[in-house]
Symmetry: C2
Subunit: 392 residues, 2 copies
Amino acid sequence: MSITSFNPPVRTLMGPGPSDVHPRITSAMARPTIGHLDPMFVGMMDEVKQMLQYAFKTENKLTIPVSAPGSAGMETCFVNLVEPGDKVIVCQNGVFGGRMKENVERCGGVPVMVEDDWGKPVDPARLEEALKANPDAKVVAFVHAETSTGAQSDAKTLCELAHKHDCLTIVDAVTSLGGSELRVDDWGIDAIYSGTQKCLSCTPGISPVSFNDRAIEVIKNRKTKVQSWFLDTNLVMGYWGPNAKRAYHHTAPVNAMYALHESLVMLQEEGLENSWQRHMDNHMALRAGIEAMGLKFIVDEAHRLPQLNSVTIPDGVDEAAVRSRLLNEFNLEIGAGLGALAGKVWRIGLMGHSSRAENILLCLSTLEAVLSEMGADINKGVALAAAQSALK
Amino acid sequence: MSITSFNPPVRTLMGPGPSDVHPRITSAMARPTIGHLDPMFVGMMDEVKQMLQYAFKTENKLTIPVSAPGSAGMETCFVNLVEPGDKVIVCQNGVFGGRMKENVERCGGVPVMVEDDWGKPVDPARLEEALKANPDAKVVAFVHAETSTGAQSDAKTLCELAHKHDCLTIVDAVTSLGGSELRVDDWGIDAIYSGTQKCLSCTPGISPVSFNDRAIEVIKNRKTKVQSWFLDTNLVMGYWGPNAKRAYHHTAPVNAMYALHESLVMLQEEGLENSWQRHMDNHMALRAGIEAMGLKFIVDEAHRLPQLNSVTIPDGVDEAAVRSRLLNEFNLEIGAGLGALAGKVWRIGLMGHSSRAENILLCLSTLEAVLSEMGADINKGVALAAAQSALK
């Protein structure tokens, strides 16, 4: 065996995540490792929590980064709030609603599914029906921004309905945090999780979560222990909590926290609302180019996520071959469809640092070049001008 | 709010982990992020798995890095192998045996505790008694290298006993991997987990695990689903597995994997057995200095881990004040006692890149300086010469 150092190619990341990571963030990650109980690290942790509150628009004291990817953040919400026998209404309109169902079942809970078509938002009327039919439901779970389709649901309305029927809410904000409007306190979200590798443009591996006092009260009054030791918020709070003794729970991924800290400093420098606006502006430019080329969005305009663009594939085109060529010839990554949309769409991400004018022009020009060479039926020579005019 | 970039101090890390991280590893971590399904990343994953097999001395195909810290590696072993009602014999001789018990209980299993004094190895005779008294036990779990005490147990003998009584073994090798003799296949370890931040000297956050075919067979024949979606090896293998389609499971912590890859390249360059020997040689030098000073080791020589040195505190000395002074005046971190040993010992780590001659002399000289100033009853002016002579 003689394996040598790995030097990755330099890609432009316009898939469903990870997104392009700004060099400030990778540089921060490479700073010298210090101990996870070092007073300097503990001080940095407090800043991370404070900046996560800013990003989530919440005053929740239990706002922390879980030391593992978004899937573990999802699991943190479910294992802490769902006990055996608990009924959970899960709204599914894509891949991640299905994962929520898996989580409920593995906690011994009883999922009640409210299904909507992939690419559509969650329908509040159907949720209300389910709430009426299940007066014993304890939790409503839904995905704010479905990464698998690019559809955005009306989190505020869904939370209002859930609360009207005395349910807690668990919200997946993996793809929305930092990229589009999200107001944890104003909308009454009880538990929420996200990821670092989407609109925060940080390296993947950490999952910010937040629980309000109502959710904490439910956790404190559990009849059973949380089934995961690693994700038990009662234990994690001994390390991360507001008045915690900083007791050892697990060894925090120190350098990954440096990266998250830097990404949140950058978000704060730009301003959260400015970041939301940038994601929308750049989406409008990409959209102008994509539509000029003759391709279509599968999500209707009112519910479309600006940061995750699911675009139809021209008839007769081998979509995987297109993605390979973009990657191999231009170092550009765009995403495949997932689940029910596999083979039917491309997912073009404009998240965080990937949401830039130069990325839009690169994506449109390389896509047009490759599709033209493959003989696809698209409008040529018009996409760039359309995008440029929208950028102005 | 105006929080600025975090610039950590430059510490020398001689606690129980994280250990000093070589700049080659932090530099690797800062390389450009690519997609977790990028063919180049998938190729790197294969190399990581191959080098982990080398480090564990195993041919196990299911040898992978879990995308979360060592505690999650522990949980991966327990949630996959333990079903409700399963009896698990847990040998406890420190903090981490207690955490194993928590894991068994949270899986619905029935722990049978075999307790030894903290600082002693697990006693094979007591394990055998427990095995005879519990013929229905399914799993034996123990810690190879107790990070909380510095005691090393005889993993080979304990595994032989477990197998004689038809039990699977789960072994904690968080602190031993790369630092002292560990032979997964030769010793018949069925499931094992470790961490990156100890003798591999990588940044914290990832947990290498390995399962042999016997363990995989047990997992395949489970009656119930694994309670954790994130840690379910059946699902993880779709992404990491030998013939996997590299199906999306979770977004891997891409840059953390670069770091792990580089740390394993460095281990391979040094040679595993050479690394074990280096840890022993440097322990002997530290020991010579510590004993010359008049301090004592709490673990007897035959069972002492070279990489984790639990050392007694001189009478009347405020141990926390000593650690603070070492950190604040010399940027040197040593560890406090944990659990039953809190306040009774310091834990001095010589792990991975921290296991170097210069660190030994720094630790001895600063410790002597601080203890002398605090009026502790130690032998002065002899530790450095003793260590230097042992280094030769």
